[in-house]
Symmetry: C2
Subunit: 247 residues, 2 copies
């Protein structure tokens, strides 16, 4: 099946190098409106979006997010916060004494924030504006709270940078995804066997026209560079700091 | 600004009553492909999608998700699991002994799963297929793990049901969202004051053509029905069960 929207979803890829062209106020408004129009639990919009316009704060963020200078150069930078604070404040404003938010409220708000963020990505893409998620926004909880003035019960869910892709970025092939069998189960969860995993990764490499794919070499390098990296360990340490307020 | 994609994002609303028309195999494939093509951290696709086809399991899920029978009647029902298990299994298959996943891995995978889910929503919408998120999938961790055979480090991030909207559902107005000022801050987080919250909710009510909106009455009823409900407390109890495996 094909239509303009399916094609746009398939064509969208992350952009990390931007031209100097700004995102206009109208474009920014359309991107935010896309986010607001996303599905949201009980129509609560359990997020707050920080629009990071201050160059010094951008610099700090770039540093706190595993030192990625392209964050500073993006035309627009939005932090999507899972906000478990606004509604309880409204309850208090109406004279109630609500319970403290718990881990269920947090996970629901993280989902809400990410669902809104992905609509922002799709809206931007429709305007020729590229984007990139920065998962590293979860790191360095203490410094991040300081920099963004985050109170308890307000947690970064994801961060997005936006800008127009350079020609080199436009030409970059989109990385291939796994085949359905690798990520979809019917009814109940089942572990992939070692043999199946080898096949899943080989299929993905073939779909990406990679020749001479070596599972062991690739996985060992990936594990070292990502899962066992300093930033990945920091992400879990930092996430535990945020979680503590909910437990 | 307007284009076909922005219009589709703005028009999309949740659908809870479906016609009997099935979702075809081609439509299902297009919805899943939309999800796969979503941005994903390090191209890892940190999710597993369960396609719930078994009527008995659908019945169980409808029951576990706060007794919502329309879950049984949907043409397609997908559970998006944050999967912190598949990549460590691949690391093991390559002879490594990876660390246990931590809370950072979980939050990153929840984001990944919800970002993919929202692309599935947008893909479905482009085919005239409505959808509804079921946040309640976070509840009843023990029974849910049993029903879906979830091992440790695999956590429901969200659930989606899909189907064609009835005419009544098509005619239903989409609930109004908050204005930008209510959910966007420049640079740093700031609490809304009680007065601002009253205004935020009044503006939203006016945008939804609600007359005689009474903040205190609305908020008190909403708090009782949602935040202080049994299902909301259950969600946090249950989420804590899932989190325990990561702490």
């Amino acid at each position: 099946m094909q239509n303009e929207i399916l094609q746009a979803l398939a064509a969208r890829k992350s952009v990390r190098v931007f031209t100097d062209e700004p995102v206009t106020a109208e474009e920014r408004a359309a991107i935010l409106e896309g986010a607001f129009q996303a599905p949201t639990a009980g129509c609560q919009q359990l997020y707050t979006i920080l629009d990071i316009t201050d160059p010094a704060l951008r610099h700090t963020l770039a540093d706190l997010c595993d030192h990625q200078p392209f964050i500073e150069k993006a035309a627009l930078c939005l932090v999507f916060l899972a906000d478990c604070r606004r509604w309880p404040l409204a309850y208090r404003a109406a004279g109630l004494q609500p319970r403290d938010p718990g881990p269920g409220d947090l996970l629901l708000a993280v989902a809400d924030a990410c669902i809104a963020a992905q609509n922002a990505v799709t809206a931007a893409e429709s305007l020729g504006i590229g984007s990139c998620y920065i998962g590293d926004v979860l790191e360095n909880a203490e410094a991040m709270r300081d920099a963004l003035h985050l109170p308890d019960h307000v947690v970064p869910a994801c961060m997005l940078v936006f800008g127009r892709p350079t020609d080199q970025q436009k030409a970059r092939p989109k990385p291939a995804r796994f085949a359905e069998a690798a990520v979809v189960c019917e009814n109940t969860y089942r572990d992939r066997t070692g043999e199946e995993l080898r096949q899943d990764f080989a299929c993905r490499a073939a779909a990406g026209s990679q020749v001479d794919f070596d599972f062991d070499r690739y996985i060992q390098a990936f594990c070292k560079r990502k899962y066992e990296s300093d930033f990945s360990r920091e992400m879990s340490r930092s996430a535990a700091v945020y979680l503590r307020a909910f437990l």
